[in-house]
């Protein structure tokens, strides 16, 4: 299941043992003096940032701030080199065939919108179908809904089982009539933590003549992802969930597909030649990078990739899995608590749950009083919550800096919430 696709491309596991305390010491937010220590259990929403990322961004602004790709002077060349160097690092990190397949976007949402707008509007027509799943984040639903209503395209959905996994027995039927031209699936669910078997889904999608899109927002930050081994055609992820800054995301696409796609946004930088009534497009990937890009954020993302590689993605994922196993064991001690999703050995570092009749907002507020930060709500996955017949859940999510004693603090707070709201 999961272990089929993370391919480390021969990268050896780091020799030193993984020490979350030492990792934590490199994150300034945890060094900040405060009345209660920060227990940050919301990394699935956004991750904290290590010194290395903040320093890299600061260095760009203070030492070589200049626009990229145009200036002939030295700092402009330094900025261009740093920007394109980050692209190469990202390409290596996800095992892309070439840095030209790495397009910088604002976030995963923009990356998915790029595919819907550029690939979708040039390739899909009325009567075609798009296959999605019930566990998608809104960012992998709404762009396709917009396209579907504009073009008269049918949306089809792989259902989610009671146990929080995709009901893949339905997939052959969804693909059978050959009308499905695109399949888009989340790699790791941001609510259930479920790790979906992308290579198998991609195999079926390709056999039916559909392209495969993967929302990897929760997987690229947490485990080794090899975009080629996944069998995907497009993969979207975002920088701020992987120790990098906000405002920078990535669309990886197969070069053969990207080459023939029309641009997404028009403007400077994405053109080769502009005449008053028409233009020729720039080469990949710049064809898709219109206007001045967030240069500092790209530099920061490159530093985040370096930092994650220094920890080793196998170690990062093992740590997530140990934490989620521990969390699920401890959460079982809390009466009337129900966990959504599969067992610990089939999920990433995310646990969403309900606690008796208590609204998740109230749970989160009581926890906040102890400095414990969790997310409460529908986590941008309303259809998934509807599937389980609940309006909202509370969610704890983990990362390389999370400690087991933070899960103890969570459990203690949940017992307290039960007392406060006892009826």
């Amino acid at each position: 299941m999961f272990h089929r696709h993370p391919v480390g491309a021969g990268a050896p596991a780091p020799l030193q043992t993984f020490d979350p305390q030492a990792v934590r010491a490199q994150f300034p937010i945890f060094r900040e003096p405060r009345a209660r220590p920060l227990v940050y259990l919301d990394s699935a929403a956004t991750s904290q940032k290590p010194d290395a990322v903040l320093q890299a961004m600061g260095r760009y602004y203070s030492s070589f701030n200049a626009n990229i790709h145009r200036g002939i002077y030295q700092i402009a060349e330094e900025a261009t080199a740093a920007y394109e160097d980050s692209r190469r690092r990202v390409a290596r990190f996800i095992h892309a065939a070439s840095p030209r397949e790495v397009v910088f976007t604002r976030n995963s949402t923009e990356a998915l919108n790029l595919v819907a707008h550029s690939w979708g509007r040039s390739r899909l027509e009325a009567g075609d179908a798009i296959v999605l799943t019930v566990m998608e984040h809104h960012s992998n639903l709404v762009p396709w809904q917009l396209l579907a209503s504009e073009r008269g395209i049918e949306l089809r959905f792989i259902p989610v089982t009671e146990g929080g996994e995709l009901d893949l027995a339905t997939l052959p039927k969804l693909l059978a009539d050959g009308r499905a031209k695109l399949v888009s699936v989340v790699h790791i669910s941001n609510v259930l933590g479920t790790v979906n078997p992308i290579p198998e889904i991609a195999r079926q999608a390709h056999a039916a003549g559909a392209v495969m899109v993967v929302d990897a927002s929760q997987s690229v930050p947490h485990c080794s992802v090899d975009v080629q081994a996944l069998g995907a055609d497009f993969v979207a992820f975002t920088g701020h969930k992987m120790l990098g800054p906000t405002g920078i995301g990535v669309l990886w696409g197969r070069r053969s597909l990207l080459e023939v796609m029309p641009p997404f946004l028009g403007g400077g930088e994405m053109i080769r030649e502009v005449k008053l009534t028409g233009s020729k497009w720039n080469d990949l990937p710049w064809k898709f990078e219109a206007g001045t890009m967030p240069i500092a954020e790209v530099v920061g993302l490159g530093a985040a990739v370096d930092y994650l590689e220094s920890l080793g993605m196998e170690a990062v994922f093992t740590h997530d899995r140990e934490l989620v196993a521990y969390a699920m064991e401890r959460l079982r001690e809390v009466p009337d608590l129900e966990i959504l999703g599969p067992p610990a050995d089939r999920r990433g570092g995310v646990v969403a749950f309900t606690l008796d009749h208590i609204h998740p907002h109230d749970v989160a507020t009581v926890l906040d009083a102890d400095g414990v930060a969790v997310r409460a709500g529908h986590h941008c996955a309303m259809p998934l919550h509807e599937r389980f017949g609940i309006p909202a859940t509370a969610r704890a999510s983990f990362y390389c800096y999370t400690l087991p004693q933070e899960i103890d603090a969570l459990v203690k707070g949940l017992h307290r919430a039960r007392q406060v709201f006892a009826r």
Binding site: H359, P360, H361, T365, D368, A369, H378, V420, F421, R423
Partner: protein, 136 residues
């Protein structure tokens, strides 16, 4: 950030545990439902009117303690109140009733019932929507 004891004062927990006017009315004169898309809180209010006065009011739905308590308090406040007077209730009145400091996210929870009430008594077409558009 305040402790939860400040946020869940006894009066709020009391309304949350023993909501007043909870339920629905049969053939109400006005019924209105609104939701907070961020957290999935949902409140419906039913009104029975007599001679320009709110003779009976009920709320139903689901949500956090703050949203449910403020709906309960508002129902208690407006029952028997002339419609014109109910239109004048503002966010400050609700916050005063709750008696707590709220951050921007929980403020939405606290004011959902007021939004439902105002849209209901004004009729959504005429409602000026000042709670949503306040810059304060």
């Amino acid at each position: 950030m305040s402790g939860f004891e400040d946020l869940y004062r006894e009066n709020i927990l009391d309304h949350y545990r023993n909501p007043r006017n909870q339920g629905t009315l049969e053939s109400p004169d006005i019924t209105y439902e609104d939701a907070n898309p961020l957290c999935g809180d949902l409140i419906r209010m039913d009104f029975k009117l007599k001679d320009g006065t709110i003779e009976q009011v009920c709320f139903s739905g689901h949500g956090c303690a703050i949203s449910q308590a403020s709906a309960s308090m508002l129902c208690e406040l407006v029952e028997g109140m002339p419609l014109e007077e109910a239109k004048k209730i503002g966010r400050e009145d609700v916050l005063e009733m709750l008696g707590i400091e709220l951050g921007p996210v929980r403020l939405k929870c606290a004011l959902l019932a007021l939004k439902t009430l105002k849209a209901g008594v004004y009729g959504i077409q005429q409602w000026p929507g000042e709670e949503e558009e306040s810059t304060r």
